[in-house]
Amino acid sequence: MRYHLETLISIKPFLAVLVSTIGAGLILASDRKPNLREGWSVGAGVIKLLIVLSMAPAVLAGQTIEYTLFTFLPGFDIKFRVDPLGLLFATVASSLWIVTSFYSIGYMRSTHEHKQTRYFTCFAVSLSSAIGVAFSANLLTLFIFYEILSFVTYPLVAHKETEEAFAGAKKYLIYLMGTSKTLLLAAIILTYNIAGTLEFSHDGLFGGKGNPALLTVVYFLFIFGFAKAAIMPVHSWLPAAMVAPTPVSALLHAVAVVKVGVFSVLRVIFHVFGPSLMRELNLGVATALLASFTILMASIYALTRDNLKARLAYSTVSQLSYVVLGASLLTPSGMLGGILHIANHAVSKITLFFCAGSIYVASHKINISEMSGIGRKMPWTMAAFAVGALSMIGVPPVAGFVTKWYLALGSIEAKAIPILFVLLSSTLLNAAYFIPIVYKAFFEAPLPHPQSVGAQAAHPEEIHEASLFVVAPLVLTAVGSLLIGLFPDYFLALAKAVIR
């Protein structure tokens, strides 16, 4: 433990993890009573958020909270530690979970999805593991929760149980399990063999051990091992996972899965390797290149997608690399931007997915080309969508701008002008693929022949806003992304504490 700050011992982190698992149990138990079941879901979310927030003052005051559950293997503890980075992620995840719960209620009931209990259970467990990842104090704990997360999201992705859903879920699992089981595990083991510890530490846990070539290999094993971060070329599970119901996509993309991925990458960069070692090995540059490549390619590809969720998925791929890019710049502002983007992207992207789901619920439309004029029927949804899109583009004062600002600052601090151009052109691309959607929704006349877009699609006249459970959350998150953009202080303070 090389934290010089005061360390508190408290069971709270473990409780935060446990709450949703208990919630999952209760959800399972109340299979027959939907209202009770979803009540548990929401209740667990609220408790979790309260627990997480109750730790904020101490963490903001510079303390860390630790809790060692037990010794798993000699030398390997199951241990939680709440530090600013983890708390930031946990706050995002747990607060969005509540919103998503409400949204799920609306969505799942509106679309009459089957096996809702399984759905809510898996959802709760996946949140548990996301928080677990956030609060992990060492790589092993992180790995365990990471794996559990991959696994419990599988039924969610395959929820529809169609051929397509299984294919997508299979790809999802192949990618996530494949990379984590081989690359990540290898990286962790190599790390342990080199450093003799897996405990995260403020300046990296290697402490000068290991030769550069090996460390570089380990680093890239980590980067690609955390396939949830969707850095090319291990990103294609993400679009494939779009077969899931929309709340799941929202969870995947905004709250849990991908965020766990980038969060873990940040952990690796900050607390496994540490900025100084990263600099020494020139790993930042390489990572930044990878991330830049991912940002651009994914953005360009997103342009060509007509399926709304696919477009959002590629957007996510691109945006995730913002986080990685920021961290890999290894300058204060860059890291700040990367960390902040976890929160900012979460709130904005979840809005976008909620909107996509809302559209689906209301009209059964999934392709952008079919969405002409939908904004007139669903003004709230599409207004929220516009806000989310603006955030993605990075238009002030919406959340995304804050990130972009810091990233740009960071790129210049790092004297990496090309990175700046990457960011700027990515902004352009983001605009290019988001604005047409907004335009279509608000300004184009609805398509005259509903038959042409499939029998499922509702008649244009019949389309109206989805239920309150669907609309309220997305409006809430849209407002949230505005508010984070205007008052980023909480997350900013946490992020600053990380790079302190």
């Binding site: 798993f72 293997l73 089981k181 083991i189």
Partner: protein, 510 residues
């Protein structure tokens, strides 16, 4: 050079000869069965026997002194004194868990066989009980002759189990099984005899009172030239490698597994295969440390090849049992890899993995057995979408699959993690295939699960499958508890192992 290091002795910390009871109680039960006719009574007696044996065996960890490498609960009686053969049994960290595993699985197996055995129930139960005796005997024997005896006798009940209650191709499978094992054990016996003669030379030179001994603890003290060690290693390698089975000697396993009745498969996979790896740990490493070092590359290579090869073959199977059989080859490759990493993490992992594999693969066979009892087919393509029809079975199946694919939080992860830790420390070139093996393991198991349990229930024959009843749930739950216990909190098990690990590691490191 060896005498000073790693001296171990045998101690007996409680009065009654519990270990012998555990060994021979099943035999007594089998003898009682001889006189019974009523099937109900046969089942009851068999169950009581295994249960009492199991409870008795629970005394062992209760009184076990952790952290030391001594042979505990040791009993020694002269048997054929002129030849230096004695009845000498005892357990240490390596064998204790295996003994427990055996008694535990025996209970499950008897419970499993409550139904489904239509012919010769009495003989069947006698075979099972006899098998238990020999298996526990193999793990407890400290006299090489006794060990060999149990090792060979074990073949008889197993042979009958496969031959009598097996599938269509059982003649071929049972014969293959016996021939393979016999061939190996013959070579092993030669190796043992060399050790024995060497001890004689040593004892004569030192003018010790006992000139001939098959006793493991005696043999430990007799130094052996490297050249001889190599020969002995090779000889007993064959004995153990056939049993494990290691890569080129594995083909008996799929046949035997497929043809054996479920109970046979369970014990075969759960315990019998461990005899080989146990042999390596028990005899090859401490008795032949230099030769072990010499053979490390070969062993690691075979282990790594076995891992990948078994996993790949598992992917190619349509027969569930065959798939699991090949997965066993892969998993035992891990054990070999861990053991021959020759460091503490690897040894620890290897030993824990023996137990894990015993639990999880037995679990898989049991689940498949449940399916087979219901549908009488092992072909994957016949199944599909069963999770709707048999949710409880599907849930247990899932837990066991996860354990087998080393999902974090289950026992498999603990073992594989430690093994990989050791393997990377030892030689990363062999660890890389192991990683691939881990991946493939996840692939074939999940694929299997998906093909059998997920999707739509398309085969109309599957529509009337009953779910697990209480007895079957009990069997599965016992396994699930063990899986999660070891997976989440493995420390108690590791503590049992640690003393012996320390001993072996110090022995081979020097």
């Amino acid at each position: 050079m060896l005498g000073s290091l790693g001296e171990i002795s045998a101690i007996q910390q409680i009065g009654p000869p519990v270990l012998s009871w555990v060994i021979f109680l099943p035999l007594v039960g089998a003898a009682i069965l001889l006189f019974l006719k009523d099937e109900k009574q046969i089942r009851a007696v068999a169950l009581q026997t295994v249960l009492i044996t199991f409870l008795l065996s629970l005394l062992l960890p209760l009184f076990f002194n952790r952290g030391i490498s001594e042979m505990q609960f040791a009993e020694r009686y002269d048997w054929i004194p002129p030849l230096g053969i004695s009845y000498h049994v005892g357990v240490d960290g390596i064998s204790l868990l295996l003994v427990l595993l055996t008694t535990f699985l025996s209970v499950l197996v008897v419970l499993f066989s409550w139904k489904g055995i239509e012919t010769h129930l009495k003989q069947y139960m006698i075979c099972l009980l006899g098998l238990e005796t020999t298996l526990v005997g193999v793990f407890a024997a400290l006299d090489l002759f006794l060990f060999f005896l149990f090792w060979e006798v074990m073949l008889i009940p197993m042979y009958f189990l496969i031959k009598t209650w097996g599938g269509e191709n059982r003649d071929y499978a049972s014969l293959k099984f016996v021939l393979y094992t016999l061939l190996g054990s013959v070579l092993m016996l030669v190796g043992f005899v060399i050790l024995y003669l060497n001890y004689h030379d040593f004892a004569t030179a030192q003018s010790l009172p006992v000139r001939y001994s098959f006793d493991f603890l005696d043999l430990l003290n007799a130094p052996l030239s490297v050249e001889k060690q190599v020969w002995v290693f090779l000889l007993i390698f064959f004995g153990f490698a056939f049993k494990v089975p290691m890569f080129p000697f594995h083909t008996w396993l799929p046949d035997a597994h497929v043809e054996a009745p479920t109970a046979g498969s369970v014990l075969l996979a759960g315990v019998l295969l461990k005899m080989g790896t146990y042999g390596f740990v028990r005899f090859s490493l401490p008795l032949l440390p230099e030769a072990s070092h010499i053979f490390v590359p070969l062993m690691l290579l075979l282990g790594a090849v076995g891992i990948v090869y078994g996993a790949l073959l598992a992917l190619a199977q349509d027969d569930i049992k065959k798939l699991i059989a090949y997965s066993s080859i892969s998993h035992l490759g891990f054990v070999i890899l861990g053991i021959f990493a020759l460091n503490r993490a690897g040894l620890r992992g290897g030993m824990i993995q023996m137990i894990n594999h015993g639990i999880s693969t037995s679990g898989l066979f049991l689940v498949v057995g449940f399916l087979y009892e219901r549908r009488h087919t092992r072909s994957i393509s016949e199944y599909g979408g069963l999770s709707k029809q048999v949710p409880i079975l599907a849930a247990f199946y899932l837990i066991i699959s996860l354990s087998s694919m080393a999902f974090p939080g289950t026992n498999g992860f603990v073992g594989e993690f430690l093994i990989l830790l050791g393997a990377f420390k030892s030689d990363w070139r062999f660890a890389v295939p192991a990683m691939v093996g881990v991946l493939l393991g996840a692939a074939y198991l999940l694929w299997l699960y998906q093909r059998t349990m997920m999707g739509n229930l398309e085969n109309p024959k599957n529509r009337s499958l009953p779910d697990l009843d209480r007895r079957e749930i009990g069997v599965c739950a016992a396994l699930a508890v063990m899986i999660l216990w070891i997976g989440v909190y493995p420390s108690p098990f590791l503590k049992i192992i640690d003393g012996s690990v320390e001993f072996i590691a110090s022995r081979v490191e020097n």
